[in-house]
Amino acid sequence: MGRYVVRRLLQMIPVFIGSTFLIFFMVYALGDPVAAMFGDRAPDPATAAQIRRDLYLDQPLGKQYLHYMGQIFQGNFGTAFNGQSVTELMASAFPVTLRLTLIAIVLEMLVGITLGVFSGLRRGRGIDTSVLLLSLVVVSVPTFVSGYLLQFVFGVRWAWAAPSVSPEAPLNELLLPGLVLALVSLAYVTRLTRTSIAENVRADYVRTALAKGLPRHRVITRHLLRNSLIPVVTFIGTDIGALMGGAIVTERIFNIHGVGFQLYQGILRQNSPTVVGFVTILVLVFLLANLLVDLLYAVLDPRIRYA
C-alpha cells in the first residue's frame, strides 16, 4: 500500500511538470503580459524593460519556468498585476469554489446514483427509458444555456432562489449554481450507474445472496451497489478537478467570486501570475483526486490489492 502510493506519487511528477509547463508556455509565450499591463498605450521602453527584469521575463522560457516553480515550492505564487498577492486571491476564491464543487458532487452522488439504481434495476421498462432519454437531453444542453434558463425560471420568475450570489457565498445561495454545475455530470453518473447495475444484477453473487434468503434491499445496498460503484467512483473522482476548473461558466452566470471568476479576469487581462498559479493548483487537485480514487477501489472491492 505504502509503496504503491509512493510509486503513484512519483508517476505524478512528470505529468505535473508537463501540464504546468504547457500552461506556463501558453500564458507567457503566446501572450505579452507586459504589453497587457499598459492596456492600449504603448509602454515606455525603459519602463517595460525594467518590469521585464523585475518579473524575470527577460530570461529564456525554461529558466523562467524553473524560477517560477522554485518560488511556488517556497509558497510564493507571485503578485497579481494589481499588487495583490496571488496567495491572497486564492485564499478568498478557493473556499467559495470548494463549497460550490462540494454541493455539485453531493447532488451528483445522491441524485445520480439513486436514479441510476432505479433505472438499472428496471432495465427496459418505462422508467428506465425515460431516465435514459432525460439524461441524454440534460447532457446535450450546454451548461451556459441551462444556467441561464434555471436562473431565469427559479431566480427571476418564481423567485425561489437568489439569482446572483453575494460575495460571502453562503451555502443556501450556492444551491442553484451547484445544481447547474452538477447537471451534466449528474446525467453521466446516472448513465454509468445504470449500465453498471444492469450488468451486475445478473452476476452469480447476487443470485447467491438472494438464494440464501437475504432481503432484497440488503442485497442491493451491500452487494450490488458496492460492486457497481467502481466506475462511478472513478468518474466522480476525476470530476472533482474538472468541476473546479469548469466552474468558470457557472460562476460567470451567477456572479460568484470564486476560482473561475478570478481565472476569467486573469485571462482577459493577461494577468499571468494569477492564471498560472490557479491552474497549477487545479492540476494538483486533479492529480490528487485521481490518486484518491485509485485508493478507494480497494475499499470498494477487497479483491484489489496494492502491492
Binding site: I23, S140, P142, F144, V145, Q151, S185, I248, L268, V279
Partner: protein
C-alpha cells in the same frame, strides 16, 4: 496491477460544460474483442455468406427509431449548413435598429435581436459554424488519435510509454481553461484556431481507446497466424488489425462530435471561441444573455438550436454504440 482494473479511458475529463468529453459507457467497447462472431444470415436467407459486424450493425440501425430520427436531423443540419439560403432568404447581418429586441411578427417568426437582426436567419446561418467545427475537429482528433494510439498499441515499447504520459499531460489541463488561455491570444476570425485547439485536446481521448482496442486485436489468433505466414507490420496493421479495432474509435468519435459542438459554443460564449462576424450560436447566446429578462426569445431560439444539434449527435453516437457493441443487447 490495480491501475488497470477500471479502464481509465472510460473517464471523460470534463468541466462543468458539456465539454466533458465523457464517454462513460463506451468503456465496455474497449475491452471487447472487436470481431463479431460470424453469425448466420437472417432466417430464411440463404446460408453461406456470414454477416460481418458492419452489416449486422447496419441491419440494427435501420430499425432503430432513435438512429433514424437523429440521422434525419443531422442530414437536415448539414444541408442548411451548406445552403442556408434554402430556408432563410434574409441576410443575417442586415440590422434594423428600429426593430431591436422585438418579438415574433409576420415574416420574422423568431423576432429580432438587440441590433434588430432577424433571429431566425441568424439561427439558420449559425448551423454552418457549429457543424464545420464539429466535423473538422472530430475528423482531426480521430485521425491523429487513432494513428498515434494505434501505432503505440501495436509497437509498444518506449514510444507507447511516452505517448501515454503525453496523453496524461493533456488530460491534466482543464479543457475550458486551456481554451481560454490558448484562444484569447488568437486574433483570426476563422474557425480554424478553434478546430486546431479542439484537435489538440481531443486526440488523447481517441488515442487511449484506439490503443486499447489495437492491443486487444493484436492478440487474436488470426493476427498471430498472419504473422506466422510472414505478413509484415504494415500489412498486419492495415489488413488485419485496423478493420477489427476501428469500431470503438467510431463510437467515441460520434459521441465526441456532439460534445465538441457544445465546447465550441461554450468557448464562443466566453469570448474566446469564434469571433464576429462569424455567425455563431454561442456568440448570439452570449449577447442575448444580458437581456434575458426583457427579451428571452433572443436567447431561447439559438439555445434551442444548439441543444437540438448536440442532442442529435449524442443520440446518433448512442445508437451506433448499441449497434456495434453486442454485449449490451
Amino acid at each position: 496491477m490495480p491501475e488497470s482494473y477500471v479502464p481509465k479511458e472510460a473517464i471523460g475529463h470534463g468541466d462543468g460544460g458539456t465539454a466533458a468529453l465523457a464517454i462513460g459507457e463506451a468503456e465496455s467497447l474497449e475491452r471487447r474483442p472487436s470481431a463479431a462472431p460470424p453469425s448466420a444470415g437472417p432466417p430464411g436467407a440463404p446460408v453461406g455468406k456470414p454477416r460481418s459486424l458492419w452489416s449486422d450493425a447496419w441491419h440494427d440501425l435501420r430499425r432503430n427509431p432513435v438512429f433514424v430520427l437523429s440521422a434525419l436531423v443531422i442530414v437536415f443540419l448539414v444541408v442548411i449548413a451548406i445552403w442556408p439560403q434554402l430556408i432563410a432568404t434574409g441576410n443575417p447581418y442586415r440590422a434594423d435598429l428600429a426593430k431591436a429586441q422585438q418579438g415574433s411578427q409576420p415574416g420574422h417568426p423568431f423576432g429580432f435581436d438587440t441590433q434588430g437582426r432577424d433571429v431566425y436567419t441568424r439561427v439558420v446561418y449559425g448551423a454552418r459554424a457549429s457543424i464545420t467545427v464539429g466535423v473538422c475537429a472530430t475528423t482531426g482528433a480521430a485521425l491523429l488519435g487513432s494513428l498515434l494510439g494505434g501505432l503505440a498499441g501495436f509497437f509498444g515499447g518506449w514510444g507507447d510509454t511516452l505517448l501515454s504520459r503525453l496523453a496524461d499531460i493533456f488530460f491534466g489541463i482543464p479543457v475550458i481553461l486551456g481554451g481560454l488561455v490558448f484562444l484569447s491570444v488568437v486574433t483570426s476570425t476563422t474557425v480554424w484556431p478553434v478546430v486546431g485547439f479542439i484537435v489538440l485536446l481531443g486526440w488523447p481521448q481517441v488515442s487511449r481507446i484506439a490503443r486499447g482496442s489495437v492491443v486487444t486485436a493484436k492478440q487474436n489468433d488470426y493476427v498471430q497466424a498472419a504473422r506466422a505466414l510472414g505478413a509484415g507490420n504494415g500489412r498486419l496493421l492495415l489488413r488485419h488489425i485496423a478493420p477489427n479495432a476501428v469500431a470503438p474509435v467510431i463510437v467515441v468519435a460520434t459521441i465526441a462530435l456532439g460534445t465538441y459542438i457544445a465546447l465550441e459554443a461554450t468557448l464562443s460564449y466566453l469570448g474566446a471561441g469564434l469571433k464576429p462576424p462569424t455567425v455563431s450560436w454561442g456568440i448570439d447566446i452570449s449577447t442575448a444573455s444580458t437581456y434575458i429578462r426583457s427579451a428571452p426569445h433572443m436567447l431561447l431560439w439559438p439555445a434551442g438550436a444548439l441543444s437540438i444539434t448536440v442532442l442529435a449527435f449524442i443520440m446518433l453516437g448512442d445508437a451506433v454504440r448499441d449497434a456495434l457493441d453486442p454485449k449490451l443487447r
